[in-house]
Amino acid sequence: MNDQADDNKEIVDESPNRRDFLQIATYTVGGVGAGMAVWPLVDSINPPADVLSLASSEIDISSIKVGQSVTVMWRGRPVFVRHRTDTEIKEARAVPLDSLPDPASDEERTQKAEWLIMVGVCTHLGCIPNGQRETDPKGDFNGWFCPCHGSHYDSAGRIRKGPAPTNLEVPPYQFLDDTTVKIG
């Protein structure tokens, strides 16, 4: 076999010949086929339909008093719902935007000033910041404090100090009426 191939080389010049074409065609078809066979396996690891379908939660906020927070679940993650005090709102709105690591105004982050709703997952590495309970440490900015690596969030859930890169995420939500919010 090898002899034969060597013979061929002497006769045929370097330009691609029939055999090169067949070889490239075989590898291409094989490669595309392998890719198509692997994709279903890779995709099966993605969230399945039942997980994706847990898309929205409705909550009754009538019993949350001023200064209180509750935590609800949305897509398996905690969502913080806080009935803010006037002080908190004032503090949050008084901060100059250009002093923030991730500038966003309090108005952009809330639909109604007294209700702050956000995903309670630290944007650093995924811990759940403290600050929901009255007795929790709230950090240097009267909001939330992540115990894992010390990220401080203010009363609008914006990152102020520490390693987290961005503000706590605001999920899509909608007030269905004065006492009901639909998250998602």
Binding site: M1, P40, L41, D43, S44, I45, N46, P48, A49, D50, V51
Partner: protein, 421 residues
């Protein structure tokens, strides 16, 4: 700068000097001398290897979504089928793949019987093969239990109860296997673990299988050894391309079932969740167990039935010593050849009987077929080996190939071949 010369080659040499993986592959898959006359029946080993890999990979992805618990197993499989992306495809590739695996292995085994590939010096290769076959059956049986349908549950009950036929310790053995007094959570968990473990053991056995194979090289349709380099051609590209063509045909066959008849080899009762209080009207094993199931049922005594069934497989282990005939290939064994085909027919007949209910005339036919199965190994094979007068096989593979060419009506290809040599 030449990428191949300056980067690839030095790395290749550096590694190969310390751990000769590349030389190993070259020796065993590229330059490997292979008889030049192998026909398509020699494709099936390679196809089995590819199917083994397919089963392991799809199995791992199934396990990502499976829960080995009696309350959750059935639902977890339904969840896989309905909600997981391509879950249906992965499951059907695995379930139809099991049937493909057995189709391939039966052809592979009958090939070895026909061409005498189990004879010296390939006895251990054959014996390791039989061990692989046993491991495959155990794996398939336990896998079928996992979806926890009615067939899973009652199939598992019946098969594990076979061990209760063993005198004295039988009942405690079954309780031990079950981890309880019925098939339950403990059983399901251990079956899942063992079902995941066995394929790894099969991989190990296949490694030894191929080690033995490469020690004495493949047999071939003429059944004579390779003697001179003229008898062989390198594995690559000749047999890689031949195996690739076979793979294409096989995948077409396999995927036709996966996409168009995924439940063809299954049983509708297995879409009903296991119910320990109700046995389905007809319980039948998977098709690949049917011949042995027929042998089990052909004897009325519980213990003897079980012994007959296990002997039917175990007898394969000693086949190399039952057939002491010198000539390997059935091509040159006019009598053996006829009994070979009778034996194939008998296996199909047993399979058919295994699928019927145990009523007349099936019972009597089944008994005769089972008796013939054993007679083939214990009486016919030794006697034929002793008294048959085989034709004289050709001196070498080249001589045999040439002879065949000359005999065929068109003289031209033969002339070409002569010219080439």
């Amino acid at each position: 700068m030449n990428f191949y010369k300056n980067i690839v080659l030095p790395i290749h040499d550096w590694v190969d000097y310390r751990l000769p993986v590349f030389s190993y592959v070259r020796k065993n898959l590229v330059d490997y001398p292979t008889p030049k006359n192998l026909n398509y029946w020699w494709n099936f080993g390679a196809l089995l290897g590819i199917t083994l890999m397919t089963m392991i990979i799809t199995g791992i992805f199934l396990a990502f979504n499976y829960t080995p618990h009696t309350e959750l197993a059935f639902a977890s499989v339904e969840h896989l089928m309905r909600d997981v992306n391509y879950g249906w495809l992965i499951r059907f590739m695995h379930s139809s793949g099991a049937s493909m695996f057995f189709i391939l292995v039966y052809i592979h085994m009958f090939r070895s019987l026909y061409f005498g590939s189990f004879k010296a010096p390939r006895e251990l290769l054959w014996i390791i093969g039989v061990a692989i076959y046993l491991a495959m059956m155990a794996t398939a049986f336990m896998g079928y239990v996992l979806p926890w349908g009615q067939m899973s549950y009652w199939g598992a009950t019946v098969i594990t109860s076979l061990f209760s036929a063993i005198p004295i310790v039988g009942d405690s053995l079954v309780t031990w296997i079950w981890g309880g007094f019925v098939i339950g959570d403990n059983t399901l968990m251990r079956f899942f673990v063992v079902h995941y473990l066995m394929p790894m053991i099969i991989v190990l056995l296949v490694f030894f299988h191929l080690w033995a194979l490469h020690s004495h090289h493949s047999n071939n349709p003429l059944g004579v050894d390779m003697k001179t380099p003229a008898d062989s051609i390198p594995f690559h590209p000749y047999y890689t391309i031949k195996d690739l063509l076979g793979l294409g045909v096989f995948l077409t066959f396999y995927l036709t079932f996966v996409f168009f008849a995924p439940d063809y080899f299954g049983h509708p009762d297995n879409y009903v969740e296991a119910n320990p209080l109700v046995t389905p009207a007809h319980i039948v094993p998977e098709w690949y167990f049917l011949p042995f199931y027929a042998i089990l049922r052909s004897i009325d005594d519980k213990l003897l039935g079980v012994i007959a069934m296990f002997s039917a497989v175990s007898i394969l282990f000693v086949l190399p010593w039952l057939d002491r005939g010198r000539v390997r290939s059935a091509k040159f064994r006019p009598i053996y050849r006829q009994f070979f085909w009778l034996f194939v027919a008998d296996c199909f007949l047993l399979g058919y009987i295994g699928a019927q209910s145990a009523v007349e005339p099936f019972v009597t036919i089944g008994r005769l077929a089972a008796a013939y199965y054993f007679a083939h190994f214990l009486i016919i094979i030794p006697l034929v080996a002793k008294f048959e007068r085989p034709l004289e096989p050709p001196e070498s593979i080249s001589a045999g190939v040439l002879e065949a060419q000359l005999k065929s009506k068109t003289a031209e290809p033969a002339a070409q071949l002569q010219g080439a040599e």
